[in-house]
Structures are given as structure tokens and as C-alpha cells.
Amino acid sequence: MRLLRRSIILSAMCLAAFPVWAAAQDASGADAMFAVNNTWMMVATFLVFIMHLGFATLESGLTQSKNTVNILFKNTGIVAIGLLTYAIVGFNLMYPGEFSIGGFFGFAGFGIGTDAAGLTAEYSEGYTYWTDFLFQGMFAATAATIVSGAVAERVKLNSFLIFSTLYVALIYPWAGSWKWGGGWLDAMGFYDFAGSTLVHSVGGWAALAGVIVLGPRLGKYVNGEIRPILGHNLPLATIGMFMLWLGWFGFNGGSVLSADPGAVSFVLVTTCLAAAAGVIGAMLTTWTIHKHPDFSMVLNGALAGLVGITAGADAVSVLSSVIIGVAAGIIVVFSVEIIDRARLDDPVGAISVHLVCGIWGTLAVGIFSADHSFVTQLIGVLAYGAVSFPSAFLIFFILKATIGLRVTEEEERRGLDLSEHNMEAYPDYTIFTAR
């Protein structure tokens, strides 16, 4: 039986390798390289895609079970909205080709499509037009999903979906064009390898805006003290963190935009070392200041390290990546507490992980890489803050003033699963909380 299974697996592997092998046989070296590059970019696309499951499980684990359906629903909806809007308008906003207003705004038209050249190395040596679209499309959705954790457990579903649609369709790609689309920040020398600023801080600023406009969950801040609202499933949260780390292999590895063995393998090393360092940094910090090491902080620490290295995974040394990761791990623990003490309720630490450590990672490129200037990095950070925060704040504010941004007290107490979806996540058993 085992022999049969092994021979089936072997044959399947040979069959899967055949197209690449065939391409390598009857094509020139360049064609073969293009096929390999594109294949890797597609795999990277799959990895970034699975990060959405990571977000969904992480957020579910760190929030209450009475809101789990709502969390899962939002995370699923955002992927769909992100991909579709990216096809309709986002991709061509982010990569306009030509800028109509001096490196600041450009739009290549609605819809996606390409000619025969788009399927070959003529378009790019690293990927076809379609791979380019899909890989970048997966990134767009991750920026939007960062917000869903911060506003969890009290935001209205329809308002949130409206916000996400506007933000991921318009703000994210337009701001992203300034650097990755070849806009004014790119011309200035600003550097963001895989999106500490363009993805994480853009999402983080919106998370901050949402938390401010929305207000804290009921019962979180009472009589001047912070009453923790416990996550209902730490194993789920752990699955989420590891899935996000796994996805980061594609997030950073794919941002090399080719399968260049040296570049990709190096980037994966800096990425993983930063994540590991983030775990240790957070672990030591929480162990010291809380007497007992808080595991949810360690989860945040890994992600903080990953966000921190995302701006410069290919531009800094191995030692620097460890330092960046440790620093991110330390920063995130303090940041979570500071933000909590400021009465800004962020159930999953999204602001600390993505905004604060996204800024750290971006500035770190200026500190640890001789080829990049700290001042330019700072300008980029501020520019993205100047567009992300006000636009998100405005959208949230208008939603609050018109259809309302927050559920009623009664709905929040009952749980969004029943109030917004009329269903339960765990109908077979209820998990009690005692306070």
C-alpha cells in the first residue's frame, strides 16, 4: 500500500514538473527563467492569499465567541471586495504607467486586460500581466483587513463593508502609486520593499481612525480602570499567527518580483529572523513588565517583527534584521499598553503591530541601510500618514453621521453574531464567561 502511494506521489510530481521541464528543454534560457519566475510569483500569490485565513483566525481567537461569525464574515468579504475592486479600478490606479498629475495621480482606466505581450517576458521578466495583477491584488486586500481587527465587536457590518470598499478601491492604490507605481516618492528615493508603509501603515492609520471614531467596547474602560475583554480561543489565534508568518514567505519573498535564487533566499532569511527576534523581544518584554509572559503579546511580537522587516528585507543585513525584529517585539508590547491606557480600544493590537511597527520598519531602512536616507523614509512615512489617516477618518465620520458606524448597546451585549447575522458560531455549546 505504501509503495503504491509513494509511486503515485512520485508520478504526480513528475507530471507537475513536466511543463517546466518541457519549457526548459525546447526554449531558450531566458524563456525558462521567465517560466520559473512566474511560477514562483504565482506560489507567492497563494501564500499571500492564505494570510487572509491567518487574519480571520487570529482575530477570531482574540475576540469573544459571540462575535465570531461577524469577524469571519468581514474577513471573507474583504478578500472578495479587495480582489474585485482591484480588477475594476485599483490595479490601474496603483500602476497607472503614466502620471497625469506629476507623480501624484494617474489612472490607466477601468478594468483589467492585456495583449499577447502581457503574457511574456516583454511585459516583465518576472511575471505575466495576470500574475502581476493577482499578486498585487492579494496585497490590497491585506491592507483592508488590518482594520477589521481594530474595529471588531462593535462596528456595524454594512458601514464597515462600505468603508473597506472605498478605502481599498481608492485610497490604498492611489497612495501606493506614489512609490510602487513609480510616483513622486519613488523618484525621491523612498524605499518600501514589501509594504511596511504602503500596506501595513496604510491599514494601521485606518485602524487608528476607526478606533477613535468608533469608541471603545462596552465595559472596557470603567471607572478609570481597564477591564480586559478576553479572547475566546488562543489556539485559534496561534493558528492565525503561524499562517500569517507562512504567508509572509510569499509577501516578502514575492516582493523580489522574480525567482532570483540569491535575492529570494536572502529575503526569506531576514524575514524569518526578524519574526523570531520579534517573538523573543516581545517575550522578554512581557515577562519583565508583567511578571508572567503574556502569550497574546508574543503572538503580536512575531507579527511586529514581520511588519518591521517588510520595508527592508532585501536592503538590510542579517544582523540588522534581528535588531529590527527585537526592537519591534519590544515596541509592540509597550505600544499595546500605551494605546490601551489612552482609552483607544484595539482588541487585537492591530494599531501597534501594523501602524507603529510599520513606521518603525520603514524608518529602520534609513537607519540600517547605507543606501537609503532616514529623512526620505520619514517623509514617506509622514506622506502616507497625511493621506491615510484623514481619508479614513473622514469616511468613518461620514458613515457615523449618516447610517451610523456602531451597533446599539443592546446589539453589542447580545453579540454581533445574533444581532447582525441572526446565527451563532458555536450553536452546539455555549462558552460561558464569568466576570
Binding site: 490601551d340 464569568a434 466576570r435
Partner: protein, 113 residues
């Protein structure tokens, strides 16, 4: 007929059940419960903030007994659950008005077994 309700520490569940089996009390129901008596509670931390947990996990036994089984039942529970520490639990003995077996319709003392 009496209903014996006992709240014990969760990790004494096995010992109590063992002790009850030894005196041939095999019919019971067990549920999770939260409670506190003289035990005050303890503090936990979550993401940097401390909070008090005042309701503590317990396990609740409900055992319907005929009067001639009452003493051995109480003694068995105490034997299994006592550790000498605060939080060992309590036993309530309540008069049982009626008892019916669903499968056969038996009533009263035979229904308790």
C-alpha cells in the same frame, strides 16, 4: 428520598467518583459550575491589565438517593473531595419530592435505584 448536591474541586472529580463507586453509588450527574465560598479568588493578567477572577471553577454532583444510602453517599463524597484546603466545597442535602424513571415509568424508591 434525598437529592445530594455537592460542589467539589475539579481535580477531585475522579477521586469522588471512585469513592462513590466503592459504596455502590453509581447513578449521578456531573456538571461544570462556577462558584465561591470562603475562597476569595485570584488575579489574572491579559495584555498588560490585571483583573480579578472571583468565581472559581468547580464541579457539581447531583445524586438522588434513597434514605438508606444517604450516609454512605455523604461520607464518600467527603472522602474523595477533602484536601484540607479552602475551596474543598460544600454538600447540600435536599428533600426529594418525586422521582420517575423515564424509560419504564417507575416511581419513587425503585426509580432511584
Amino acid at each position: 428520598m434525598k437529592l445530594v448536591i455537592a460542589y467539589v474541586q475539579p481535580d477531585r472529580l475522579h477521586h469522588v467518583k471512585q469513592a462513590l463507586t466503592e459504596v455502590e453509588v453509581n447513578r449521578m450527574s456531573v456538571t461544570n459550575a462556577l462558584g465561591c465560598g470562603q475562597q476569595r479568588g485570584f488575579t489574572e493578567t491579559y495584555r498588560g491589565s490585571e483583573f480579578e477572577v472571583r468565581l472559581i471553577k468547580k464541579v457539581r454532583f447531583e445524586i438522588a438517593v434513597n434514605d438508606n444510602f444517604l450516609e454512605r453517599t455523604k461520607e464518600a463524597i467527603i472522602k474523595g473531595a477533602r484536601t484540607g484546603n479552602f475551596g474543598d466545597g460544600v454538600i447540600f442535602v435536599v428533600d426529594l419530592g418525586e422521582c420517575l424513571r423515564i424509560r419504564t415509568g417507575e416511581q419513587g424508591t425503585p426509580a432511584i435505584g
